[in-house]
Protein backbone atom coordinates (compact mmCIF):
# COMPACT_ATOMS: atom_id res chain seq x y z
CA UNK A 1 0.00 0.00 0.00
CA UNK A 2 2.77 2.44 0.91
CA UNK A 3 4.54 1.64 -2.36
CA UNK A 4 1.34 2.41 -4.25
CA UNK A 5 1.01 5.71 -2.40
CA UNK A 6 4.55 6.74 -3.35
CA UNK A 7 3.95 5.63 -6.92
CA UNK A 8 0.72 7.62 -7.07
CA UNK A 9 2.41 10.74 -5.77
CA UNK A 10 4.97 10.56 -8.58
CA UNK A 11 2.25 9.91 -11.18
CA UNK A 12 0.16 12.83 -9.91
CA UNK A 13 3.11 15.21 -10.09
CA UNK A 14 3.85 14.15 -13.65
CA UNK A 15 0.30 14.02 -15.01
CA UNK A 16 -0.81 17.29 -13.39
CA UNK A 17 2.41 19.18 -14.17
CA UNK A 18 3.10 19.99 -10.51
CA UNK A 19 6.52 21.21 -11.46
CA UNK A 20 7.29 22.87 -8.15
CA UNK A 21 6.40 19.83 -6.05
CA UNK A 22 8.16 16.59 -5.29
CA UNK A 23 6.88 13.50 -3.52
CA UNK A 24 8.11 14.73 -0.13
CA UNK A 25 5.74 17.74 -0.40
CA UNK A 26 2.65 15.61 -0.71
CA UNK A 27 0.97 14.41 2.46
CA UNK A 28 -1.11 11.35 1.54
CA UNK A 29 -3.94 12.49 3.83
CA UNK A 30 -4.07 16.07 2.69
CA UNK A 31 -7.07 17.03 0.49
CA UNK A 32 -5.87 17.09 -3.11
CA UNK A 33 -8.49 19.63 -4.08
CA UNK A 34 -7.90 21.97 -1.14
CA UNK A 35 -5.85 25.16 -1.33
CA UNK A 36 -2.37 23.69 -1.34
CA UNK A 37 -2.16 22.21 -4.83
CA UNK A 38 -4.35 24.66 -6.74
CA UNK A 39 -6.05 21.84 -8.65
CA UNK A 40 -9.12 22.37 -10.79
CA UNK A 41 -11.87 20.30 -12.35
CA UNK A 42 -9.64 19.60 -15.36
CA UNK A 43 -7.07 18.01 -13.05
CA UNK A 44 -9.79 15.74 -11.67
CA UNK A 45 -10.55 14.63 -15.23
CA UNK A 46 -6.85 13.94 -15.85
CA UNK A 47 -6.79 11.74 -12.75
CA UNK A 48 -9.72 9.79 -14.21
CA UNK A 49 -7.62 9.22 -17.34
CA UNK A 50 -4.65 8.18 -15.16
CA UNK A 51 -6.70 5.57 -13.36
CA UNK A 52 -7.84 4.08 -16.61
CA UNK A 53 -4.52 4.23 -18.41
CA UNK A 54 -2.31 2.92 -15.62
CA UNK A 55 -4.62 0.90 -13.40
CA UNK A 56 -7.30 -0.15 -15.85
CA UNK A 57 -10.08 1.28 -13.68
CA UNK A 58 -12.91 3.14 -15.39
CA UNK A 59 -14.70 5.97 -13.61
CA UNK A 60 -17.96 6.98 -15.21
CA UNK A 61 -18.51 10.51 -13.96
CA UNK A 62 -16.71 13.51 -12.56
CA UNK A 63 -18.88 13.29 -9.41
CA UNK A 64 -17.73 9.75 -8.72
CA UNK A 65 -14.16 10.95 -9.22
CA UNK A 66 -14.52 13.71 -6.62
CA UNK A 67 -14.93 11.24 -3.78
CA UNK A 68 -12.18 8.91 -4.96
CA UNK A 69 -9.63 11.71 -5.37
CA UNK A 70 -10.19 13.26 -1.95
CA UNK A 71 -6.61 12.37 -0.91
CA UNK A 72 -3.78 10.26 -2.28
CA UNK A 73 -4.67 7.62 0.30
CA UNK A 74 -8.33 7.41 -0.77
CA UNK A 75 -7.11 7.03 -4.36
CA UNK A 76 -4.77 4.23 -3.32
CA UNK A 77 -7.56 2.51 -1.35
CA UNK A 78 -9.84 2.64 -4.37
CA UNK A 79 -7.18 1.21 -6.65
CA UNK A 80 -6.44 -1.62 -4.22
CA UNK A 81 -10.14 -2.48 -3.99
CA UNK A 82 -10.81 -2.38 -7.72
CA UNK A 83 -7.59 -3.55 -9.25
CA UNK A 84 -8.06 -7.26 -9.76
CA UNK A 85 -7.00 -7.34 -13.39
Amino acid sequence: MENLIEELKAEIIEVLNLEEMDITNIDPDEPLFGDKFGLSSIDALELIVLLERKYNIKIESAEEGKKIFHTVRTMADYIMQHSNK
Binding site: S40, S41, I42, L45, I48, V49, S61, A62
Partner: protein, 401 residues
Protein backbone atom coordinates in the same frame (compact mmCIF):
# COMPACT_ATOMS: atom_id res chain seq x y z
CA UNK B 1 -20.17 60.25 -33.13
CA UNK B 2 -20.14 56.72 -34.59
CA UNK B 3 -23.09 55.97 -36.89
CA UNK B 4 -25.59 53.18 -36.65
CA UNK B 5 -25.06 49.69 -38.01
CA UNK B 6 -27.84 47.65 -39.56
CA UNK B 7 -28.36 44.05 -40.61
CA UNK B 8 -29.48 43.81 -44.21
CA UNK B 9 -28.94 40.14 -45.00
CA UNK B 10 -28.84 36.77 -43.24
CA UNK B 11 -27.63 33.31 -44.23
CA UNK B 12 -27.56 30.03 -42.33
CA UNK B 13 -27.00 26.29 -42.61
CA UNK B 14 -27.27 23.85 -39.73
CA UNK B 15 -28.87 20.60 -38.60
CA UNK B 16 -32.30 22.21 -38.91
CA UNK B 17 -32.03 23.45 -42.45
CA UNK B 18 -29.82 24.30 -45.37
CA UNK B 19 -31.01 27.89 -45.61
CA UNK B 20 -33.08 30.55 -43.86
CA UNK B 21 -36.48 29.28 -45.05
CA UNK B 22 -35.86 25.68 -43.95
CA UNK B 23 -34.44 26.89 -40.64
CA UNK B 24 -37.52 28.99 -39.94
CA UNK B 25 -39.84 26.08 -40.71
CA UNK B 26 -37.97 23.78 -38.32
CA UNK B 27 -37.98 26.43 -35.60
CA UNK B 28 -41.73 26.97 -35.93
CA UNK B 29 -42.71 23.30 -35.96
CA UNK B 30 -40.33 22.47 -33.11
CA UNK B 31 -38.24 20.07 -35.16
CA UNK B 32 -34.85 19.42 -33.59
CA UNK B 33 -31.97 18.47 -35.87
CA UNK B 34 -30.19 16.44 -33.22
CA UNK B 35 -29.73 12.78 -34.01
CA UNK B 36 -27.22 10.12 -34.88
CA UNK B 37 -23.94 11.15 -36.44
CA UNK B 38 -23.63 9.75 -39.96
CA UNK B 39 -20.77 11.62 -41.64
CA UNK B 40 -17.97 10.79 -39.23
CA UNK B 41 -16.61 7.35 -38.36
CA UNK B 42 -16.41 7.77 -34.62
CA UNK B 43 -16.47 5.10 -31.93
CA UNK B 44 -19.07 7.34 -30.31
CA UNK B 45 -21.46 7.13 -33.25
CA UNK B 46 -24.03 5.17 -31.26
CA UNK B 47 -23.45 7.04 -28.03
CA UNK B 48 -23.52 10.79 -28.49
CA UNK B 49 -26.21 12.46 -30.59
CA UNK B 50 -25.08 15.44 -32.68
CA UNK B 51 -26.56 18.26 -34.72
CA UNK B 52 -25.30 17.34 -38.17
CA UNK B 53 -25.95 19.18 -41.42
CA UNK B 54 -27.84 16.72 -43.63
CA UNK B 55 -25.65 17.00 -46.69
CA UNK B 56 -22.31 15.29 -47.16
CA UNK B 57 -19.32 17.23 -48.51
CA UNK B 58 -20.02 16.41 -52.16
CA UNK B 59 -23.62 17.53 -51.85
CA UNK B 60 -22.55 20.78 -50.19
CA UNK B 61 -20.11 21.36 -53.04
CA UNK B 62 -22.90 20.60 -55.48
CA UNK B 63 -24.99 23.42 -54.00
CA UNK B 64 -22.10 25.78 -54.75
CA UNK B 65 -21.50 24.37 -58.22
CA UNK B 66 -18.09 23.04 -57.24
CA UNK B 67 -17.05 19.80 -58.92
CA UNK B 68 -13.67 19.19 -57.39
CA UNK B 69 -13.86 19.29 -53.60
CA UNK B 70 -10.19 18.60 -52.94
CA UNK B 71 -9.51 22.29 -52.24
CA UNK B 72 -12.47 22.68 -49.90
CA UNK B 73 -12.90 21.58 -46.32
CA UNK B 74 -16.35 20.95 -44.86
CA UNK B 75 -15.96 24.07 -42.73
CA UNK B 76 -15.29 26.12 -45.88
CA UNK B 77 -18.26 24.66 -47.77
CA UNK B 78 -20.68 25.37 -44.91
CA UNK B 79 -19.36 28.91 -44.54
CA UNK B 80 -19.50 29.60 -48.27
CA UNK B 81 -23.13 28.49 -48.48
CA UNK B 82 -24.30 30.62 -45.55
CA UNK B 83 -22.27 33.70 -46.47
CA UNK B 84 -23.46 33.55 -50.07
CA UNK B 85 -27.05 33.35 -48.91
CA UNK B 86 -26.54 36.37 -46.65
CA UNK B 87 -25.04 38.46 -49.44
CA UNK B 88 -27.79 37.51 -51.86
CA UNK B 89 -30.42 38.16 -49.17
CA UNK B 90 -29.01 41.67 -48.75
CA UNK B 91 -29.63 42.20 -52.47
CA UNK B 92 -25.95 42.79 -53.16
CA UNK B 93 -24.60 41.86 -56.56
CA UNK B 94 -21.66 44.23 -56.88
CA UNK B 95 -19.76 44.79 -53.66
CA UNK B 96 -16.85 46.59 -55.29
CA UNK B 97 -18.64 49.95 -55.13
CA UNK B 98 -18.27 50.35 -51.36
CA UNK B 99 -15.59 49.24 -48.87
CA UNK B 100 -16.63 45.72 -47.95
CA UNK B 101 -14.99 43.35 -45.50
CA UNK B 102 -15.39 39.78 -44.35
CA UNK B 103 -14.82 38.67 -40.78
CA UNK B 104 -15.36 34.98 -40.29
CA UNK B 105 -14.76 32.73 -37.31
CA UNK B 106 -14.03 29.09 -36.71
CA UNK B 107 -12.60 26.79 -34.08
CA UNK B 108 -11.87 23.61 -36.06
CA UNK B 109 -10.90 25.00 -39.46
CA UNK B 110 -10.01 22.14 -41.78
CA UNK B 111 -9.69 19.57 -38.99
CA UNK B 112 -12.24 17.20 -40.56
CA UNK B 113 -9.97 16.69 -43.57
CA UNK B 114 -6.66 16.67 -41.69
CA UNK B 115 -8.00 13.83 -39.56
CA UNK B 116 -8.34 11.74 -42.70
CA UNK B 117 -4.73 12.46 -43.60
CA UNK B 118 -3.36 11.81 -40.13
CA UNK B 119 -4.86 8.36 -39.77
CA UNK B 120 -3.24 7.18 -43.01
CA UNK B 121 0.03 8.98 -42.29
CA UNK B 122 0.46 7.50 -38.81
CA UNK B 123 0.18 3.93 -40.09
CA UNK B 124 2.63 4.57 -42.88
CA UNK B 125 4.58 7.79 -43.34
CA UNK B 126 4.50 7.44 -47.09
CA UNK B 127 0.70 7.42 -47.07
CA UNK B 128 -1.83 10.18 -46.62
CA UNK B 129 -2.99 12.68 -49.22
CA UNK B 130 -1.29 16.00 -48.68
CA UNK B 131 -4.27 17.71 -50.21
CA UNK B 132 -6.12 16.80 -47.04
CA UNK B 133 -3.93 18.93 -44.81
CA UNK B 134 -3.01 21.98 -46.78
CA UNK B 135 -6.33 23.61 -46.00
CA UNK B 136 -6.15 22.96 -42.26
CA UNK B 137 -5.64 26.50 -40.96
CA UNK B 138 -8.39 28.69 -39.55
CA UNK B 139 -7.76 31.33 -42.18
CA UNK B 140 -8.35 28.95 -45.09
CA UNK B 141 -12.13 28.77 -44.74
CA UNK B 142 -12.23 32.57 -44.47
CA UNK B 143 -10.18 32.95 -47.64
CA UNK B 144 -12.50 30.56 -49.50
CA UNK B 145 -15.54 32.54 -48.37
CA UNK B 146 -13.87 35.82 -49.36
CA UNK B 147 -13.09 34.38 -52.79
CA UNK B 148 -16.61 33.23 -53.53
CA UNK B 149 -18.09 36.53 -52.33
CA UNK B 150 -15.46 38.61 -54.10
CA UNK B 151 -14.41 40.45 -50.93
CA UNK B 152 -11.04 42.12 -51.30
CA UNK B 153 -10.97 45.17 -49.03
CA UNK B 154 -10.56 43.47 -45.66
CA UNK B 155 -10.55 39.83 -44.56
CA UNK B 156 -9.90 38.41 -41.11
CA UNK B 157 -10.68 35.47 -38.84
CA UNK B 158 -11.67 35.46 -35.19
CA UNK B 159 -10.97 32.48 -32.99
CA UNK B 160 -12.31 32.80 -29.44
CA UNK B 161 -14.02 29.44 -29.09
CA UNK B 162 -17.80 29.57 -28.74
CA UNK B 163 -18.03 33.38 -28.76
CA UNK B 164 -16.06 33.61 -32.02
CA UNK B 165 -18.76 34.61 -34.48
CA UNK B 166 -20.45 37.00 -32.04
CA UNK B 167 -17.04 38.67 -31.80
CA UNK B 168 -16.79 38.71 -35.60
CA UNK B 169 -20.05 40.64 -35.68
CA UNK B 170 -18.80 43.08 -33.03
CA UNK B 171 -15.50 43.61 -34.84
CA UNK B 172 -17.35 44.16 -38.11
CA UNK B 173 -19.62 46.75 -36.52
CA UNK B 174 -16.61 48.56 -35.09
CA UNK B 175 -14.88 48.79 -38.45
CA UNK B 176 -18.05 50.33 -39.92
CA UNK B 177 -18.52 52.77 -37.05
CA UNK B 178 -14.91 53.87 -37.42
CA UNK B 179 -15.46 54.61 -41.05
CA UNK B 180 -12.98 51.97 -42.23
CA UNK B 181 -15.58 50.01 -44.17
CA UNK B 182 -19.17 50.56 -45.27
CA UNK B 183 -20.17 46.95 -45.11
CA UNK B 184 -19.01 43.75 -43.39
CA UNK B 185 -20.19 40.19 -43.86
CA UNK B 186 -19.67 38.71 -40.40
CA UNK B 187 -20.28 35.34 -38.79
CA UNK B 188 -18.68 31.95 -38.48
CA UNK B 189 -18.52 28.31 -39.47
CA UNK B 190 -17.55 25.01 -37.87
CA UNK B 191 -17.90 21.34 -38.79
CA UNK B 192 -18.05 18.22 -36.66
CA UNK B 193 -14.75 16.40 -36.17
CA UNK B 194 -13.34 13.44 -34.25
CA UNK B 195 -11.14 15.97 -32.48
CA UNK B 196 -14.02 17.84 -30.89
CA UNK B 197 -16.15 14.77 -30.20
CA UNK B 198 -13.27 13.11 -28.35
CA UNK B 199 -12.13 16.33 -26.74
CA UNK B 200 -15.50 17.33 -25.32
CA UNK B 201 -16.01 13.75 -24.17
CA UNK B 202 -12.73 13.95 -22.25
CA UNK B 203 -14.22 16.93 -20.41
CA UNK B 204 -17.27 14.77 -19.63
CA UNK B 205 -19.75 17.39 -20.81
CA UNK B 206 -21.47 15.57 -23.66
CA UNK B 207 -25.02 14.32 -23.21
CA UNK B 208 -25.87 10.79 -24.35
CA UNK B 209 -29.41 12.00 -24.90
CA UNK B 210 -30.76 15.10 -26.62
CA UNK B 211 -29.66 18.07 -24.57
CA UNK B 212 -32.02 19.82 -22.16
CA UNK B 213 -30.81 23.40 -21.72
CA UNK B 214 -31.89 25.09 -18.50
CA UNK B 215 -33.52 21.89 -17.28
CA UNK B 216 -32.77 20.63 -13.78
CA UNK B 217 -31.85 17.19 -15.17
CA UNK B 218 -29.57 18.52 -17.90
CA UNK B 219 -26.43 16.49 -18.32
CA UNK B 220 -24.40 18.11 -21.04
CA UNK B 221 -24.33 19.41 -24.56
CA UNK B 222 -24.74 17.92 -28.02
CA UNK B 223 -22.13 19.03 -30.53
CA UNK B 224 -23.37 20.54 -33.77
CA UNK B 225 -22.07 22.05 -36.98
CA UNK B 226 -23.06 24.75 -39.40
CA UNK B 227 -22.54 28.35 -40.39
CA UNK B 228 -24.34 31.64 -39.83
CA UNK B 229 -23.58 35.04 -41.38
CA UNK B 230 -25.13 38.50 -41.33
CA UNK B 231 -24.49 41.45 -43.61
CA UNK B 232 -23.77 44.57 -41.59
CA UNK B 233 -24.14 47.91 -43.36
CA UNK B 234 -23.60 51.50 -42.35
CA UNK B 235 -26.51 53.89 -41.94
CA UNK B 236 -25.26 55.76 -44.97
CA UNK B 237 -25.39 52.63 -47.15
CA UNK B 238 -28.87 51.77 -45.97
CA UNK B 239 -30.19 55.25 -46.69
CA UNK B 240 -28.48 55.32 -50.07
CA UNK B 241 -29.88 51.97 -51.14
CA UNK B 242 -33.33 52.65 -49.79
CA UNK B 243 -33.66 49.07 -48.58
CA UNK B 244 -35.41 48.17 -45.37
CA UNK B 245 -32.98 46.45 -43.02
CA UNK B 246 -34.00 43.59 -40.76
CA UNK B 247 -32.88 45.44 -37.66
CA UNK B 248 -30.15 47.50 -36.07
CA UNK B 249 -27.22 46.07 -34.17
CA UNK B 250 -27.99 48.36 -31.27
CA UNK B 251 -25.61 47.15 -28.63
CA UNK B 252 -22.87 44.68 -27.89
CA UNK B 253 -20.55 43.83 -25.08
CA UNK B 254 -17.63 41.56 -24.39
CA UNK B 255 -16.13 40.73 -21.02
CA UNK B 256 -13.77 38.20 -19.56
CA UNK B 257 -14.94 35.89 -16.79
CA UNK B 258 -11.32 35.54 -15.56
CA UNK B 259 -12.12 32.40 -13.61
CA UNK B 260 -11.15 29.14 -15.38
CA UNK B 261 -10.03 27.98 -18.82
CA UNK B 262 -13.28 26.18 -19.59
CA UNK B 263 -15.73 26.55 -16.69
CA UNK B 264 -17.75 29.67 -15.93
CA UNK B 265 -17.58 31.41 -12.57
CA UNK B 266 -20.39 30.20 -10.30
CA UNK B 267 -22.04 33.62 -10.20
CA UNK B 268 -21.64 34.13 -13.98
CA UNK B 269 -19.63 37.31 -13.57
CA UNK B 270 -18.38 37.50 -17.15
CA UNK B 271 -21.85 36.77 -18.50
CA UNK B 272 -23.34 39.53 -16.36
CA UNK B 273 -20.71 42.05 -17.47
CA UNK B 274 -21.13 41.23 -21.16
CA UNK B 275 -24.91 41.52 -21.06
CA UNK B 276 -24.73 44.72 -19.03
CA UNK B 277 -22.26 46.31 -21.44
CA UNK B 278 -24.51 45.46 -24.38
CA UNK B 279 -27.54 46.89 -22.60
CA UNK B 280 -25.72 50.07 -21.56
CA UNK B 281 -24.51 50.62 -25.11
CA UNK B 282 -28.01 50.14 -26.53
CA UNK B 283 -29.51 52.68 -24.11
CA UNK B 284 -32.39 50.26 -23.63
CA UNK B 285 -33.90 49.43 -20.25
CA UNK B 286 -33.93 45.85 -19.02
CA UNK B 287 -37.68 45.79 -19.48
CA UNK B 288 -37.30 46.65 -23.18
CA UNK B 289 -35.75 43.26 -23.99
CA UNK B 290 -38.45 41.04 -25.52
CA UNK B 291 -36.46 37.83 -25.89
CA UNK B 292 -33.10 36.40 -24.90
CA UNK B 293 -31.49 33.75 -27.07
CA UNK B 294 -29.30 32.33 -24.31
CA UNK B 295 -26.02 30.51 -24.72
CA UNK B 296 -27.71 27.62 -22.92
CA UNK B 297 -25.49 24.68 -23.85
CA UNK B 298 -27.18 22.25 -21.48
CA UNK B 299 -24.15 21.76 -19.25
CA UNK B 300 -24.58 21.91 -15.50
CA UNK B 301 -22.09 24.73 -15.27
CA UNK B 302 -23.11 27.08 -18.09
CA UNK B 303 -26.84 27.11 -17.57
CA UNK B 304 -26.63 27.70 -13.84
CA UNK B 305 -24.11 30.52 -14.09
CA UNK B 306 -25.81 32.12 -17.10
CA UNK B 307 -29.16 31.89 -15.30
CA UNK B 308 -27.75 33.56 -12.20
CA UNK B 309 -26.27 36.35 -14.30
CA UNK B 310 -29.63 36.89 -16.00
CA UNK B 311 -31.51 37.01 -12.70
CA UNK B 312 -29.02 39.54 -11.41
CA UNK B 313 -29.12 41.78 -14.48
CA UNK B 314 -32.91 41.72 -14.83
CA UNK B 315 -33.54 42.01 -11.08
CA UNK B 316 -35.44 38.74 -11.07
CA UNK B 317 -37.73 39.80 -13.96
CA UNK B 318 -36.11 37.86 -16.76
CA UNK B 319 -37.74 38.33 -20.19
CA UNK B 320 -38.86 35.31 -22.25
CA UNK B 321 -35.79 33.28 -23.12
CA UNK B 322 -34.75 30.03 -24.72
CA UNK B 323 -31.73 28.16 -25.93
CA UNK B 324 -31.99 27.04 -29.55
CA UNK B 325 -29.10 24.63 -29.07
CA UNK B 326 -31.69 21.93 -28.46
CA UNK B 327 -32.55 22.44 -32.14
CA UNK B 328 -29.08 22.83 -33.68
CA UNK B 329 -26.67 21.41 -31.16
CA UNK B 330 -23.75 23.52 -29.99
CA UNK B 331 -22.15 24.72 -33.20
CA UNK B 332 -19.04 26.04 -31.42
CA UNK B 333 -17.40 28.83 -33.42
CA UNK B 334 -20.48 29.20 -35.61
CA UNK B 335 -22.96 29.49 -32.74
CA UNK B 336 -22.85 33.30 -32.42
CA UNK B 337 -23.55 33.73 -36.12
CA UNK B 338 -26.22 31.02 -36.27
CA UNK B 339 -27.99 32.40 -33.23
CA UNK B 340 -27.75 35.97 -34.55
CA UNK B 341 -29.69 34.79 -37.61
CA UNK B 342 -32.24 33.01 -35.39
CA UNK B 343 -32.60 36.19 -33.30
CA UNK B 344 -33.27 38.21 -36.46
CA UNK B 345 -35.91 35.66 -37.52
CA UNK B 346 -37.62 35.98 -34.15
CA UNK B 347 -37.96 39.72 -34.71
CA UNK B 348 -38.94 39.44 -38.36
CA UNK B 349 -41.70 36.92 -37.66
CA UNK B 350 -42.69 38.17 -34.18
CA UNK B 351 -42.26 34.64 -32.89
CA UNK B 352 -40.65 33.33 -29.72
CA UNK B 353 -38.90 30.00 -30.28
CA UNK B 354 -39.09 27.40 -27.55
CA UNK B 355 -36.41 25.73 -25.48
CA UNK B 356 -36.96 22.14 -26.61
CA UNK B 357 -36.70 19.14 -24.28
CA UNK B 358 -37.34 21.31 -21.20
CA UNK B 359 -39.49 19.89 -18.39
CA UNK B 360 -38.21 21.03 -14.96
CA UNK B 361 -36.68 24.39 -13.96
CA UNK B 362 -33.23 24.41 -12.38
CA UNK B 363 -33.87 24.26 -8.62
CA UNK B 364 -31.56 27.13 -7.72
CA UNK B 365 -33.05 29.40 -10.39
CA UNK B 366 -36.73 28.58 -10.86
CA UNK B 367 -36.49 29.95 -14.41
CA UNK B 368 -38.79 28.62 -17.12
CA UNK B 369 -37.93 29.21 -20.80
CA UNK B 370 -40.41 29.64 -23.61
CA UNK B 371 -41.92 26.15 -23.85
CA UNK B 372 -44.02 26.22 -27.01
CA UNK B 373 -43.75 28.42 -30.07
CA UNK B 374 -45.36 31.78 -29.37
CA UNK B 375 -46.65 33.65 -32.41
CA UNK B 376 -47.93 37.22 -32.75
CA UNK B 377 -45.57 38.44 -30.05
CA UNK B 378 -43.99 41.86 -29.87
CA UNK B 379 -40.33 41.04 -30.53
CA UNK B 380 -38.54 44.33 -31.05
CA UNK B 381 -35.41 43.88 -29.01
CA UNK B 382 -33.47 40.63 -28.75
CA UNK B 383 -30.41 39.86 -26.63
CA UNK B 384 -28.19 37.01 -27.87
CA UNK B 385 -25.48 35.45 -25.69
CA UNK B 386 -22.38 33.55 -26.78
CA UNK B 387 -19.93 32.45 -24.12
CA UNK B 388 -16.66 30.81 -25.01
CA UNK B 389 -13.93 28.77 -23.38
CA UNK B 390 -11.22 31.06 -22.08
CA UNK B 391 -13.92 33.05 -20.30
CA UNK B 392 -14.65 35.07 -23.44
CA UNK B 393 -18.26 36.25 -23.07
CA UNK B 394 -20.12 38.22 -25.71
CA UNK B 395 -23.65 39.58 -25.94
CA UNK B 396 -25.35 41.22 -28.91
CA UNK B 397 -28.56 43.28 -28.92
CA UNK B 398 -30.66 43.51 -32.09
CA UNK B 399 -33.45 46.06 -32.37
CA UNK B 400 -36.20 46.59 -34.86
CA UNK B 401 -36.83 50.20 -35.67
Amino acid sequence: MPGRVFITGIGIISAIGDNVAETLTSLIIGKSGIGKNTHIESQYKEIFPVGEVNKGDHELAGVLGINDIREYTRTSLLGMIAAKEALSDAGLTDISKAGTGLISATSVGGMHRSEMFYKDFLNNHSKGRLMNIIHHECGDSTEKIADILGVKDFVSTVSTACSSSANSIMAGARLIKNGKLQRVIAGGTDSLTLFTINGFNSLMILDKNKCRPFDDTRSGLNLGEGAGFVVLESEEMVIKSGKKPYCELKGYGNACDAYHQTASSPEGNGAYLAMKKALDMSSLKESDIDYINVHGTGTQNNDLSEGKAMLRLFNGKVPPFSSTKAYTGHTLGASGGIEAVISVLAMKENILFPGLHFTTPIKELGMIPVITVQTNCKVNHVLSNSFGFGGNNSSLIFSQS
